[in-house]
């Protein structure tokens, strides 16, 4: 049974090429004006998102994963702008949107977002029922209050809130962190979006609650046929939810592939480093693998591979020329010169081998 499921997933992966693309980013570049200096937060990222998939974007803080997805619904700060590239959604180029009015059609209705901290994304002065009804009635203006309320109760039940009739009239402070995040999910889903962006939805939560929220997200995805973009810094979290993983570093996607490919056959040294620093792979008494140095300064132009200064396996060319994508399989590609046929063979860190062993067992 288990084996057939795995095969099915691989088969799906191959089919992904023929699947329709719901959102396509082409060479997106995002710049911020900061005290007279220009910061390039996103450096030419191209990404196709397929309908119905769960795509995880993984990276350290400051890698640009949040900024990149904020461009999808026009939430960049006032000093930021998409300076180059296209964002194609249903034949429209979102990168050209200038007015708030244009975004209102997209935001929530087409692409909704769940933020990290459920404490701050809910209005403390309104009952959670009112907040869900608000979302429903913006979507469907003809709905009466009674009908909207009925629908809201349905959503509360779907996200696993017990006794929804009583909870409907309560305020956010009466909910625990996990319950609040469920309410936020209910509000987002009530807008009936096509794409749901989850920006670190479980980082502020306990491990047990985190596992439950991930389960709710998976259920909601099936029920409402959502496409989910899942942003996190913790690769461990995405193993259960993601179909594909994109690894971001210094404003660029440096490796992308199916979840199994990223976990069991990672190619970029940064992906190796991220995977090996998971405490699950540590051996007691030995030092846990950690990445030396700091992410690069994005105020200056980056030459070559952005990870090279922190990479013990860096080649000479890594400092000179930016690597293009090298294809590993139809669904898996990475930006590293190590994949060039002329590159020397480099030993992967021990942690990666341990992951393989896990698979074998």
């Amino acid at each position: 049974m288990a084996v057939s499921q795995v095969n099915l997933r691989y088969a799906m992966g191959v089919n992904m090429d023929q699947q329709d693309i719901i959102l396509s980013a082409k060479d997106i570049e995002v710049k911020f004006d900061l005290r007279g200096q220009i910061l390039t937060a996103i450096r030419g990222v191209s990404l196709d998102i397929y309908r119905g998939e769960t795509l995880a974007i993984v990276g350290e803080s400051g890698s640009g994963k949040s900024v990149f997805t904020k461009t999808f619904n026009g939430l960049l700060d006032a000093n930021g702008r998409i300076s180059e590239g296209e964002l194609l959604y249903h034949g429209e180029n979102l990168a050209q949107y200038k007015k708030e009015k244009q975004w209102l059609k997209i935001r929530g209705h087409e692409i909704a977002m769940i933020m990290q901290e459920p404490m701050t994304s809910l209005n403390p002065l309104k009952t959670i029922g009112e907040q869900i009804v608000e979302a429903i009635r913006i979507r469907d203006k003809k709905l009466s209050l009674q009908e909207a309320k009925k629908e809201a109760l349905g959503y509360l039940k779907e996200v696993g809130i017990k006794d929804p009739e009583r909870r409907y009239g309560q305020y956010p402070h009466e909910f625990s962190g996990g319950m609040r995040q469920r309410v936020v999910i209910a509000i987002a889903v009530a807008c009936k979006p096509k794409i749901l962006i989850c920006d670190e939805p479980t980082t502020a939560l306990d491990v047990t609650i985190q596992a439950q929220i991930l389960k709710v997200l998976k259920e909601m995805k099936e029920k409402h046929s959502l496409t989910i973009i899942f942003i996190t810094h913790d690769l461990g979290v995405v193993a259960s939810v993601a179909d594909r993983i994109a690894v971001m570093y210094a404003g660029d996607i440096i490796e992308i592939g199916m979840t199994e490919e990223i976990f069991f056959d990672p190619r970029h040294p940064y992906t190796w480093a991220l995977l090996s620093s998971m405490p699950q792979l540590g051996i007691k008494g030995e030092d846990l693998f950690s990445i030396q140095g700091n992410p690069p300064n994005l105020f200056t132009e980056i030459k070559g591979d952005a990870f090279a200064p922190r990479n013990p396996h860096a080649l000479k060319i890594d400092y000179q020329k930016r690597p293009p994508y090298f294809e590993v399989s139809a669904t898996h590609k990475a930006k590293t010169w190590l994949l060039d046929p002329r590159a020397p063979k480099v030993e992967k860190p021990a942690g990666i081998a341990r992951l393989r062993e896990l698979k074998a067992n």
Binding site: V207, G236, A239, S240, F263, P279, Q280, D287, S290, L355
Partner: protein
């Protein structure tokens, strides 16, 4: 085993907030011992009282019952001035959120050296010396002493927090979720640092966290706490291999596995305390194996014993 020196002995402590009708017992009849030089983990969900235990040992929260014995001296309740000074120096704490736990308006040199002021008379030079040594020990540059906290990243700030406790030359550090607010890659650095300091200085840690995956890497023994009651206590590997209490199992099942194939098949266990029948058969603290304790009543104890036997085969 029994030759190990006991550093902290917590005996049946209770910490309660409020009085009368509003009394809320956050920590209920908790006992454990921490040996010198080990890392003792307390794990539980938010609201389980794990932080309260740490704070009770720090004497931030007064205990309403029980005793805390540190190096054969009782340190909770009323204590002498001399002992107070000693305990303040020897027991230090590292906090969860490095963004909130450092004074934004003070320079790093002041933040790190503040603890010294109460302890001994030191000249400015001596103080500066000490600050620089402490900063170097946690892998920061001595010239950082003249900067303000906002100039540092999360991982660096957590190092400043560690330097602040190190400067007191503590014997015992309570680390309250020291890595929960950090990025995965920075987590590894801070864990390695804590580990190195333990090896070099023989510091004992009480490590509080909600994430068992981190615990497996750093702790020697773990106590699992649920709603102010310790439900299971065992050596780390033992706990991971033979978890007995349903709450421990639920916590273990929630650890994200770094393996997509396994992870997608995994069944998530949810703990509900209604599952115990404790009306007539009251739960006790039972020893199942050497150094492996679990809270159970008589029938559960039998069940756990059998389960353990089966697991071993």
């Amino acid at each position: 085993m029994s030759q190990k020196e006991i550093l902290i002995d917590v005996k049946n402590i209770e910490v309660a907030f409020g009085t009368g009708k509003n009394k809320f017992v956050a920590v209920n009849d908790v006992s454990f011992q921490i040996y010198k030089g080990e890392t003792f983990g307390v794990v539980g969900e938010s609201g389980s009282g794990k932080t309260t235990i740490g704070r009770a040992i720090m004497r931030i929260h007064p205990t309403s019952k029980g005793e805390i014995i540190y190096k054969n001296e009782k340190i909770n309740g009323k204590i002498s001035k001399h002992l107070d000074k000693k305990v303040t120096k020897e027991i230090q704490m590292i906090f969860q959120d490095p963004m909130a736990s450092l004074n934004e308006r003070a320079k790093v040199s002041y933040i790190v050296s503040e603890g010294l002021m109460n302890q001994q008379k030191l000249s400015e030079e001596e103080k500066e010396q000490k600050v620089q040594t402490a900063l170097r020990e946690v892998g920061l540059l001595p010239e950082f002493a003249n900067r303000f906290p906002h100039e540092f990243s999360g991982g660096q700030r957590q190092r400043i927090g560690i330097a602040r406790s190190l400067i007191m030359e503590p014997e015992f550090i309570i680390a309250d979720e020291p890595i929960s607010a950090l990025d995965v890659s920075i987590r590894a650095q801070v864990l390695n640092l804590l580990d190195r300091l333990q090896k070099e200085k023989g510091i004992t840690y009480l490590f509080i966290a909600h994430d068992l995956s981190v615990m497996r890497f750093i702790t020697d023994r773990i106590a699992v706490i649920h709603e102010g009651i310790i439900v299971e206590l065992a050596e780390t590997e033992e706990l991971f291999l033979h978890p007995l209490h349903p709450y421990t199992k639920a916590l273990l099942s929630a650890i994200p596995l770094p393996n997509p194939e396994e992870e997608k098949k995994k069944v998530l266990l949810v703990y509900d305390k209604e599952m115990h029948q404790y009306e007539t058969d009251k739960p006790r603290w039972c020893q199942i194996r050497d150094n492996h304790f679990v809270r159970a009543n008589e029938s559960e104890r039998k069940k756990y014993e059998e389960e353990y036997e089966r697991n071993c085969k």
